[in-house]
Amino acid sequence: MDLNPRFRFEGFVIGASNRLAATAARTVGESPGSAYNPLFLYAKSGLGKTHLLQAVGFLALERQGTLRVEYLTLEEFVERYHAAVAAGQVEAFRRSALETDLLLLDDVQFLAEHREMQAELLRVTEALVAAERQIVLTCDRPPGEIADLDERLVSRLSGGLLVDIASPDFETRLAILHRKVAERGVEMPAGVLETVAEVGASNVRELIGFVNRLIAFQAVGGGSLTPEAARALLTDELPAAAPAAKPEPPPRTSRAVPAEPDEFSSFLTAVSTTVAQTVEAWRSRVGEAVLRWQGEGYRTQRLEQLLLSEEIPDIGAELARYASDVEELRRLADEAAAFDPSASGQAVFHDPDRLEEARALAERVKQGVEPPPPPSKGLTFAEFVEGPASDAAVRAARDVVAEPGKRFNPLFITGPSGTGKTHLLHAVGNELIATRPGAVVACLSAQAFTDELVQALDAGRIEWWRRRFRRADALLLDDVQLLAGREATQEELFNLFNAFSDAEKQLAFTADRAPGQLAGVAARLTTRFEGGLVVELAPPDRTMRTEMVRRLLAARHVTSDDDAIDYLASRPADSARAVQGLVNRALARMDPASETLTLQAARVAVEGRSQRPSQAQAISAIVPAGLDGVIGSREKVVWDWPGSADRLIEELR
């Protein structure tokens, strides 16, 4: 709808009752989208809402001719929307609404009748405000009083500036009368307009009506209009046609009726304005803060709680406290990131309610006291199966735990893969922690040690990395053969070794070969390794394997007859891992309904068939037992000859 050129700021009479509204409207017209958005003007009918609304549009166009200004009454807005829905072009409607630079929406009180439009208007308002495009609305009441209006829309509309226009006071009325009379090119005798202004009118349309009546009276009667006659004319105290015939003015005894404005209404208006500005504005303030911080990835639990509170909390202080907490979190996260880039992603740095934890974490990271990797909890002495093959190593490990750093430093455990070196190393670590609460034990593989060092070098925080390990009370490094060729790591380890050794802190290493045979590892390290105690873990013997099978089955809550255990233990296995593999195979083939592992089931699982149990058993039972310890590699032996019994008989023939 086009703007009416009569409705410009130049033609708007400003008085005490509408000064705030006019100033706000002018500000918005001068720079749409940057000041009060949305601007919500409300007033009773005939007080100049539409005039101001259109004046905003004119002013904006005068300043920036290229702006897209749209003036619509709510009815038109609804009609357009319905037409768009009917044509299946809702998206086009939304796009066009969102391309508007300045949307002027008149008479939104009718929203109550169009519930589906409330959601649409909310969407449009939010999108326009977000895009810094201006929306100005007028209404005959504040948003909170529009019946059945969606709470979110109420808070959104109250979130910008809410201004009311009160009924004009005497001076404003007089100014409007002068303006209107001048527009008509008519002159009124002195005192007449003052009298009309005194008679009072609750809105401007009524005033214009008065002017029209006076002009008509003057035109018809031709006589000069006295103030008294005007008053009589307007308050209907005398027949309108008669005054000219009655020269003497009406007696002054009849009092001008509502000379004083309705004080209670004006009180009500004042309270409404204050409530709208304070109480509801408070909620939208918190709501906006929640959205803002959530958008930045922070948890807003605390602020959301505020919205639920029954009393108004100290909003300014709460928001300020939240903001300062977030500020501190940011600072902490930045500080932590300088040492460890991955630390800033921690959830505690995005939750102001966990500020204390965040502080502690940042402090730990900063001090390099983020503890080095601890031993794995599951690998303990209790879990370790001891036997003749591991006796020496286990005894040495227990001695180390009893007197760390003093007895055997370093302890160097060698042995083929799968014999339990890692388990024993971690068991030492766990036992050290268990017997010395608070002790920091670094227990990791040489590979992880190298990787961490590379990362630290990459991030330029090598000092932090060094501090991290130096604060440990014991350093247990697994698979040091992997250090081969890693010169920088060896250098760091060499320094750490010396520091630990000087401070009588325990060092322990494992490798798949003796220190002297570690290729690619500097002699200054290998000789130091040899300087402690080198012990060997041999592959598990039959007794150990039996115990391992027993434990593995017990851990899976499977009972078994001794034959089955004996059978599994008798199978060749040069490492704990191989034993575990056997047990797993047996369990996988077990009848799911049964809880007992039988010899038969074990054999089927391991050998892959069930025929001829007696011969198979004989071979399996004899051969491995006989070969045990003689043949080093099981890959070199064919264990399961298909139909070997038949073949033997055949050859005998």
């Binding site: 109420v154 209670f264 204050t274």
Partner: protein, 203 residues
């Protein structure tokens, strides 16, 4: 009872008119009452002696209807001004959200004004509330009397308004300044709400 209840969506403000005897507290309420449209009129309760002195207190409930979705009610109370009714004054003052101090502008009443103001502060303190945080406005009533009998608003400000509160000259009998005062205290109370809990708690 909280001042703004978001659960029941109610705003309830208790405003107490305080001041020396015969300063016009009841007159203020009567004028407000006279301006309330018939459909909103509650019952004004006035317990007065035969000589029209407030014996206990006046109570005027004002139901302002729904404002921004809140059922808004104002409760206006007066206290008996005479010195010997202090127990009643303390009782009425309990739970006040805002106070209008109605001073008598007559020169000869200045001491009574000061005494009453001190009494107000003492009573507020006894309720454990910091006087500085309680929304309060001053009204200099009886400004319609001949100038030689009264102090000007400026002089009264100098004598009574050491905390630089808003003050309004008034002629409560004819309604001058009554609603200005009420508007001011209402706005103070409501604004204090928006600033948060501090000071908005009831006495």
């Amino acid at each position: 009872m909280s001042l703004v209840n978001f659960t029941t969506r109610e705003i309830t403000c208790k405003i107490v008119y305080y001041g020396p005897g015969r300063s016009g507290k009841t007159t203020n309420l009567q004028y407000v009452y006279s301006q309330v449209p018939a459909d909103r009129k509650g019952r004004m309760v006035s317990l007065a002696t035969q000589t029209d002195r407030t014996l206990f207190f006046d109570f005027l409930p004002l139901d302002l209807g729904t404002i921004s979705g809140f059922a808004t009610k104002f409760q206006l109370y007066t206290v008996p001004g005479q010195v010997y009714y202090n127990a009643t004054r303390k009782l009425v003052l309990q739970g006040a959200d805002g106070v209008v101090f109605v001073a008598d502008s007559q020169v000869r009443q200045l001491d009574e004004n000061i005494e009453s103001l001190q009494n107000l502060q003492a009573n507020i303190l006894e309720h454990g509330v910091d006087v500085r945080t309680l929304p309060m406005v001053l009204q200099f009533n009886k400004q319609d009397l001949p100038p030689e009998l009264i102090l000007s608003p400026q002089e009264l400000d100098d004598a009574l308004n050491f905390r630089a509160l808003q003050s309004y000259p008034a002629d409560a009998l004819h309604g001058v300044g009554v609603f200005e005062t009420l508007k001011a205290v209402a706005s103070e109370v409501l604004r204090r709400l928006s600033q948060g809990g501090v000071g908005a708690r009831r006495i």
